[in-house]
């Protein structure tokens, strides 16, 4: 079956611009997570959704970052006034629930480059 998909695969933008990154989770998965991964680092948690609501957004670095999941399926990560330090790979993962034992399925990521 279809896995987690993310678009675009690559995004190059200029400092100060606004970007949107999209995640399509596995059908039926209620939990959706966003992570950010810098070179040589493990994924860093940003936010997770249970259904339509953001259950935990404690990993968002500042108020320039925002994410939505209006219908409980597709999610969009939005970054305003991008900075060079925002350059990283943004990963999305989904799972059947939020139990700590639930396997997370990751998408291929969106590589964001801020010039």
């Amino acid at each position: 079956g279809a896995g987690v998909s993310q678009t675009p695969s690559n995004k190059v933008t200029e400092k100060g611009k606004y970007v949107e990154l999209r995640c399509d989770p596995i059908s039926g998965h209620t939990a959706l997570y966003w992570y950010r991964q810098s070179l040589g680092q493990g994924p860093e948690f940003l936010i997770y959704f249970q259904g339509t609501g953001a259950a935990d957004d404690s990993g968002l670095p500042n108020d320039r970052f925002f994410a939505v999941r209006p219908e409980g399926s597709v999610s969009t990560l939005k970054i305003q006034r991008t900075e060079r330090g925002d350059s990283a790979v943004y990963l999305c993962a989904s799972s059947e629930g939020t139990s700590t034992y639930n396997e997370q399925f990751f998408g291929p990521g969106t590589r964001l480059t801020v010039l």
Binding site: Y35, G40, G42, F45, S58, T98, T100, Q104, F105
Partner: protein, 112 residues
Amino acid sequence: EDQVTQSPEALRLQEGESSSLNCSYTVSGLRGLFWYRQDPGKGPEFLFTLYSAGEEKEKERLKATLTKKESFLHITAPKPEDSATYLCAVPYLSGGSYIPTFGRGTSLIVHP
């Protein structure tokens, strides 16, 4: 401070040369430990979940074990296709939810 530490950062092996990767963690009340494999340009791929000390799981040439303070990923007679970065993650309590915290990973290269 709760954290997850992986060692070594990088490992080069000859094909057939067995070895182990380490993941140490500090948490009270472990809620599972996850191992993932990540290939360049791709997202992490789930390998194993371990729940309690003494537990072991195997998949092909990989075997994961767990103690109260660390986990090992043993690679037996590796092949070049086992080359990847191996990540471990431990859920930590954050604002009422358990959020996986990842280590930096071990980059494994297996030479033919």
